[in-house]
Amino acid sequence: MSRRQLERGRAVRGTVTADGIAPLGRADPDDADCVVLHIDMDAFFTSVEELRSPGLRGRPVIVGGTGPRGVVAAANYPAREYGVHSAMPMSRALRMCPDAVVRPPDGAAYRRVSAAVMDILRSVTPEVEQLSVDEAFLDVSGARRRLGGPVRIAELIRSRVHGEQGLTCSVGVAATKFAAKLASTRCKPDGLLLIPTAHVAAFLHPLPVGALWGVGDKTEQALRRLGLRTVGDVARTPPETLRHELGQALGAHLAELAWGRDPRPVTTETADKSVGAEETFDSDVRDPETIRRELLRLTEKVARRLRASGQAGRTVVVKLRRADFRTVTRSRTLGEPTDVAREVFTAAGELYEASGLSGVPLRLVGVRMEGLVPAGQIHHQLALDEPDQGWRAAERVQDEVIRRFGAGAIGPAALAFRDEDDV
């Protein structure tokens, strides 16, 4: 069961009623408690490509790798009519649809458009949970007084995204994230679907079990063995039976979900627990200087990611994997959280030295920062011998140079003059 099978491929602008989906009329929609919106951009990558090359419109377009092992990353709706879908080998896709225009993915362009769309969403409410480049949940309970009911807000978002970015999106409106996401999937492309709370169960029950969040191939097979093919079958099964057959957590979860009960709130930030980077060497490395240089390179990367995300970490963790896969991790908690590579590297280098693995062949090294806090909450105890402009300032300048001139434009001297692949 995949989302593809749930999509109808025909635009819908409607509401779920007792008798199926009805167009949204003039009457006030039954959306009082449906404060969760799921926004899903339609065929996002290919739509951006069409925007850049308007001649593509109406023709089948595939974004993906063009090499011998290339895979489809996205296909527009005309291409989908030939049966092309994402994750399919490109060679097969082109056999199904030889006339398709193939474009290599341009991540930077997609991220730029994505950021603009997310800005629109955040102007509606700060309660935005971004799921990926082209998908987000919104909790609009705080925006209703200002902008009207959830359906009206959904219409507003759709018209602004279209007006400002020239792209279409589909919006699901419901009381829970689970139902809202199903709604947007059902109304794609360029659609809007409201699932009033009273009709959630009726809407869900005819759907195949694969529509339930958390049901993958394995669980679907397990449910099929129990003779449960639709969500309604699951809903009518005693929760104890589900727990017994599927385990406590999953069983209880599905028993709730089958009735449309989903306790997950819209969370604006999924707080990272840690930020890390690791490197597997092409061949094992024993030279301590080379290891230290790699640790420095990884540290720079980690610190840059911390700064970019406005976080700082308190605990430095170094991971060292020997040639025989035995792995040691060593950690040190600093006096105060930091996002300065220089400070992280000092600790990381000392951890490596103290690990007793200096001179031992290693196949992998990693650096990770844990105990993350928003950088805005760090107060810095100044030291007597600290210059007014220290490493922190130097690294901020480095970020700025990299932002303008690209990665590799500036970095620690110890990492300079190396193969491009290493930087």
């Binding site: 805005g376 107060h379 105890q381 100044l382 007597l384 011998d385």
Partner: protein, 378 residues
């Protein structure tokens, strides 16, 4: 060996000597306390010694000697036993390879350690000068509070002692604060000039424990004569310690000499308020101070955390200033000044501030406590 001694005299001496016993002795004999009974300057004395290759301690007390001799016993065990003896005369004697401690009706038999393996204690360097013991203890405690505790930066775990004729300057810093104190003393040679870096903890403990006599003699081995060492002697107790290596920061340059604001606050009120307000400050969150004419506002906590605020009377000359500090560092400094009124001098909110006592006419102690502020996240 056989001698008798007053229980309290023995208990004091043993307890003081035991403080220098190593917790994890590198060689077993260092866990021992050396007892040496005999004549010393025509008096019958017991000399107790302990040593851990860094610090040595030696004390001598009056006893009645029946039979002179030396022996080595477990220092911890002896200290435990003596501390718990009844208040009567104690008799200690050797019996073959054992030591017998009797007091009233109690009797203990201890094993001895091989006394011939015990290292020779370092000789006391030549006397450099002497200082009033109470003044010395007070000065050391004022300075040692700012010393570092991080053994990875050993030179910051010491108190820098600078001797220049009749003036001794003590200084220590952990990079976040710096305490400096000058005091006068009586040098052997009026033209003496010397510096030493003394482990702060040892110095503070030593200075405090030498206040039973009026004077403390200080003996500093000059850098030229082998390994650096400093010795202290007073009230029958003497201790030596190895000096620390490493370059102490050039701290005089760090002391600002011009300020934009000078505030004065009643010290005890200030300390109480700092402690109260910082109750809501979690670890690593600073205490914020706002000085304006006539008052000082103390605040801690922010946003969705618990918050506290308190207002005190304060005089201010110069610009209003808002500045944040680690509250522990601030309390340490305020507690260290001797005056009832604390004077705080500021340049800006990211520059060091200086805490002193309000100067009085007769020229109170020259003590300065420099404290680095906390830069608040913007």
């Amino acid at each position: 060996m056989k001698f008798r001694v007053e229980r309290d005299v023995l208990a004091d001496a043993v307890a003081w000597t035991a403080r220098t016993l190593p917790v994890r002795p590198s060689v077993p004999v260092l866990a021992g306390m050396l007892l040496d009974a005999g004549e010393d300057d025509g008096r019958q004395r017991l000399r107790l010694s302990s040593f851990d290759y860094e610090v040595s301690a030696q004390v001598s007390v009056d006893i009645d000697v029946d039979e002179p001799g030396r022996t080595l016993v477990s220092g911890r065990l002896l200290a435990e036993i003596v501390r718990n003896l009844p208040p009567q005369a104690v008799e200690i004697s050797t019996d073959g390879a054992k030591v017998v401690v009797s007091c009233g009706s109690a009797k203990f038999t201890l094993l001895t350690l091989p006394v011939e393996d015990y290292p020779t204690l370092p000789a006391m360097p030549e006397l450099t000068g002497s200082v009033l013991s109470d003044a010395f203890a007070a000065a050391v405690s004022q300075v040692a509070v700012a010393a570092g505790r991080d053994d990875t930066l050993p030179m910051l775990t010491g108190v820098r002692v600078e001797i220049e004729g009749e003036t001794v300057t003590l200084a220590s810093t952990d990079r976040y604060r710096l305490a400096v104190r000058e005091l006068t003393w009586t040098p052997q040679d009026p033209g003496v000039s010397a510096v030493a870096l003394v482990p702060a903890k040892t110095l503070a403990d030593t200075a405090k424990s030498l206040t039973s006599g009026a004077q403390v003699s200080i003996a500093l081995s000059t850098a030229g004569s082998g390994e650096g060492m400093i010795g202290f002697e007073g009230g029958g107790r003497r201790t030596t310690t190895r000096l620390l290596d490493g370059d102490f920061p050039k701290y005089r340059a760090l002391l600002p000499d011009s300020f934009n604001s000078v505030a004065e606050v009643q010290k005890s009120e200030f300390v109480e308020a700092v402690k109260r307000v910082s109750l809501v400050a979690e670890r690593n969150t600073p205490l914020r101070l706002a000085f304006s004419d006539g008052r000082l506002v103390l605040e801690a906590g922010a946003g969705d955390e618990a918050q506290a605020v308190e207002v005190l009377d304060a005089s201010l000359e110069g610009d209003d200033i808002q500045i944040a500090f680690n509250s522990t560092f601030l309390v340490d400094g305020l507690n260290a000044i001797e005056s009832d009124i604390a004077r705080l001098q500021f340049t800006t909110s990211t520059k060091p501030a200086i805490i002193t006592g309000k100067p009085v006419d007769d020229g109170a102690s020259d003590y300065r406590y420099l404290i680095m502020p906390v830069r608040l996240s913007s």
